[in-house]
């Protein structure tokens, strides 16, 4: 799938195996501070590095901004693996794919894989988010 990355992709247009448009990510010191203050983790613990779960949250946040999610979508599962630490102000490209999509017992289930890739093509981190949405809601996508 190719698309204008500024226009959210309707959830119902997704198919297993779709490669979604990549998007850049660069996390600032202020953004790390805001994240840590929100979660309650001591800010002084992280200096110059992005907390790994913040990177994963930003992966998911970027995906949610680019896919028109249905109401009541639920985050059911999550996996991630850090290959190395991500530095503050380091630019990476996030590359999402639809790794699974189907309906089971009336519930739409989907999984999105996202790789964070540095400028030299080194994979910094990988993640996989599993989401579910009640079937009737799948047709009521909103941005």
């Amino acid at each position: 799938m190719t698309a204008d990355s500024t226009v959210p992709i309707p959830f119902e247009d997704l198919s297993k195996g779709d490669v979604l448009p990549a998007f850049p990510l660069e996390v600032s010191t202020d953004e790390v501070r805001a994240y840590l203050e929100a979660t309650g983790e001591p800010v002084e613990r992280w200096s110059g590095l992005v907390p790994p779960l913040m990177l994963v949250a930003r992966m998911i946040g970027g995906l949610l901004a680019r896919v028109a999610i249905p109401h009541h979508l639920l985050h059911a599962g999550q996996e991630f693996e850090m290959r190395r630490a991500l530095r503050v102000d380091e630019l990476v490209e996030l590359r999402p794919t639809v790794t699974a999509l189907g309906i089971r017992q009336g519930v739409v289930m989907a999984s999105f894989g996202i790789d964070a890739v540095a400028a030299d093509e080194e994979v910094v981190a990988t993640s996989r988010a599993s989401v579910v949405v009640p079937r009737p809601e799948a047709a009521e996508a909103t941005s």
């Binding site: 790994p52 949610l64 979508l73 999550q78 190395r84």
Partner: protein
Amino acid sequence: MSAPQIEPVTRVIDQTRVDAYAEAAPDFNPIHRETPEAYTGPFGRPIAHGMLLLALASEAMAASFGEAWAASGSMKVRWRAPAMPPVTVTASAELESDEDGIATYAFSCATDEGEVLLTARASVRYA
């Protein structure tokens, strides 16, 4: 050198914290906020972000392993129940294995009443 025990992390998750997390993540799914969608949704009221609960487990790993957690950490989580703010949540872990410099822990996040909100497995290369 052997893997340490992980100290639990306990935190009150209230709507103010959830709203701050929505801005910082960012994750503006309306089921997490004081919105009509939350009150007509499957839980009848706002629920905390699952990733906010998981952040307690990540914090516990970071407290013990520091930069190694950022450089080599991995996690696999299943959310088991929604957290309805305000709620006090504790992330706790038990060491599952410690082999070849890789420590693996079984995590759970639970309410004060003992309801398990998530279970996870976290690994890190520490030596």
